[in-house]
């Protein structure tokens, strides 16, 4: 276990010595337009026939365990399913109002341009690669599951039943395949071009083309172009996306922006608090010492006053004693003189 530079800086920053997190947060708050030429995948719900081939393809290329119900069982489509530890992707069936035919929608990781999962992970287990794929590194994951809290699309799943090395499970955009020029498993398996692969720019143009070409079949909205700051997986549909269980109220703010402001405040606390608290302490201390000094002064003053008084008393006393003594002496002399004169009178 070695501390690399990044860890070290982060530790420093968080322990109040400098402003690294603030700077990093600032860097993150500039809107990231996505890596140029990163890949994208377009899902077209108008073309999707709900055959679950993409689920099979994904299961095979990723060596996932077989699902509880076999893939051939299309009955499961009726259940509302979510992504789980056995499936990186899932197709759900919806019955939008006023439509006789059902509409299908494929779920998997959307590979956000600025992923919430990556910004929330405290060991940085997620990486947004230049290919567009958001990949996860099991070897550092602590299993806190904060990424699952953070992901606005409810994508990451966890192998809760594993006591020894549980992990996050989520679509990798077939990263190992696409960097070698192969198609993602699900795209390859799709029989109806409901899934298309190319650069994100190409997919956006393709989406616009299809919308323009069949304005009756499509709504003019590419889901994922701006949602949560944009995603590499894009969706077009003939029915409003909320009918397909997709949240249209996510806004266009990328996830890291939700926290960067507050995070940037943290080093400020670390920098200002000691000064503030130290100041309060010094003030109180001074107040205390002042009070102490005043008390001391009062005591000495009282003491000197008392001393002076006592001295004056003593002086007065002495003076009086002196006077009395003198008087007594004078009296004695006087008496003696009188006695002497009366004696002389008798003798004569």
């Amino acid at each position: 276990m070695s501390i690399d530079r990044r860890t070290f800086l982060a530790l420093l920053g968080a322990s109040s010595l400098n402003l690294v997190p603030a700077l990093e947060a600032k860097g993150a708050s500039k809107h990231f337009e996505g890596y140029p030429d990163s890949y994208g995948i377009l899902f077209d719900s108008v073309r999707c026939i709900g055959c679950r081939r993409c689920e099979i393809g994904c299961n095979e290329v990723n060596d996932l365990p077989l699902p509880e119900e076999p893939f051939e069982d299309l009955g499961v489509l009726d259940k509302k399913r979510r992504l789980n530890e056995r499936a990186y992707t899932i197709v759900n069936k919806y019955h939008p109002e006023g439509r006789s035919a059902p509409v299908y929608r494929k779920l998997q990781c959307n590979h956000c341009l600025e992923p919430a999962c990556a910004s929330s992970c405290f060991v940085a287990a997620y990486t947004k690669t230049p290919s567009g794929a958001v990949i996860y590194d099991q070897s550092v994951c602590v299993g806190c599951r904060y990424c699952m809290i953070a992901c606005p699309f409810n994508v990451p799943a966890y192998t809760y039943a594993d006591p020894v090395s549980p992990r996050i499970m989520k679509c990798t955009m077939c990263y190992p395949r696409i960097i070698r020029g192969k198609l993602p498993g699900c795209v390859q398996a799709c029989p109806n071009e409901a899934l298309n692969f190319g650069t994100r720019e190409e997919m956006l143009s393709l989406a616009r083309e299809r919308i323009k070409g069949h304005p009756d079949s499509y709504l003019d909205h590419i889901y994922g172009e701006h949602e949560m700051g944009g995603t590499n997986w894009l969706y077009i549909s003939g029915v409003p996306f909320p009918e397909l269980g997709m949240n249209e109220n996510l806004g266009t703010t990328p996830a890291p922006k939700l926290t960067s402001g507050a995070l940037a405040a943290v080093p400020v606390i670390a920098a200002l608090w000691p000064v503030l608290l130290g100041g309060i302490y010094v003030m109180n201390k001074r107040r205390d010492t002042q009070a102490e000094q005043e008390k001391d002064q009062a005591v000495t003053r009282a003491r000197t006053e008392a001393d002076e008084k006592a001295e004056a008393k003593l002086k007065a006393f002495k003076k009086q004693a002196e006077q009395e003594k003198q008087e007594a002496v004078a009296k004695a002399v006087h008496e003696a003189e009188e006695k002497a004169s009366s004696q002389t009178d008798e003798e004569s």
């Binding site: 990044r6 982060a10 405290f122 060991v123 602590v142 039943a161 996510l250 670390a270």
Partner: protein, 391 residues
Amino acid sequence: MSSDARQAGIKPGLTPLRIIVGLILVLGIIVTVLRFTTGLAGVTNLDHSNPWGLWIGFDLLCGVALAAGGFVTSAAVYIFGLKKYRSAVRPAILTGFLGYALVVVALGYDVGIPWRLPYPFFVQAGPTSFLFEVALCVALYLTVLFLEFSPAALEWLGYSRLRNLIVKLTLVLTIFGVILSTMHQSSLGGLYLIAPSKLHPLWYTAYLPVLFFVSSIVAGLSMVILESTLSAKYFNRVLDKSHQQEQDILPLGFAKAAALILLAYFFLQVISLALDNDWGYLTSGYGLWYCLELSVFVLLPCFLYAVGYREKNLRIIRFTSVLAVIGIVVNRFNVSLVAFNWHLPLSERYFPSWMEVVISIFLVTLGILAFRFIVTRMPVLFEHPEYRDSH
């Protein structure tokens, strides 16, 4: 041990309370074994949509908030110079320390791979995460609390030189403790900032970090009042005279502070409501629940604390401290469990399993037992005769 126990005036024998405690311990150990042999799935009701349950909502969020008494009291005494509350510092620091230690233990149950808990510091850091902030501050603060408490243990053990050295660090440790507490108490609220689409708008606000921090001060103050009540009741035999006297003045000062802070908290809540313009939600079911939280667990304790302070009525204050503590728990539960995933249908919502509850109770019990073990031996509720007036 047995002589120690006799010294502390504990009589041997089975009482109903002891049977219950024993039962909790046995159950706790069984569930612990299950947790680490069958995984989280074996003991919890967590699922992919509800990755955080009782162990985060109660053990982490409430645990940290309720352990805030340590930093609140030591700041009041050592920084704000309120020396008259000095005897409350050690018990508060001790509860703080035990509280945080248990938070870490609880995390050991909750995270998938507990032995990797130090990874964020030693292997790879994710500084863009609020959880990183929380982890770092909790780890550092636990160390600070340990140091702050160590003089009591060292006095007990008779290591006076080391004890005097650490006592000299009191101010530095206190300041450090306040900084770390401010940071992670607020960061716990910050954890939820990333999920505006999952947390009900009445509870989601950009002010979450501030609200968590401010309410943690109330939690700390209330816990210290509550503790002093309980210690007076159950550990009266070890309390010395100055501790007994402060038992009566402490609740007054702390109640006044708590009333003021609760009022500030209430206004912060209203401001955040107004800024997000969430008034419309107030008439829904969640709105009612939100109003209930604010009135019964914020305004009412605020009012009662104020009354208790004005009339110097300790009974009202003590009752209010219980109410305020429950209020903090309600608030943390609301943010982490009740209002989280509010848009999901009821069948997909989370409710803790009995085994999760057992572990939470088990850990609290361990904390109380450790507290009792320590206060009946170490100079926490009384001053060590050799160190009187020296701190």
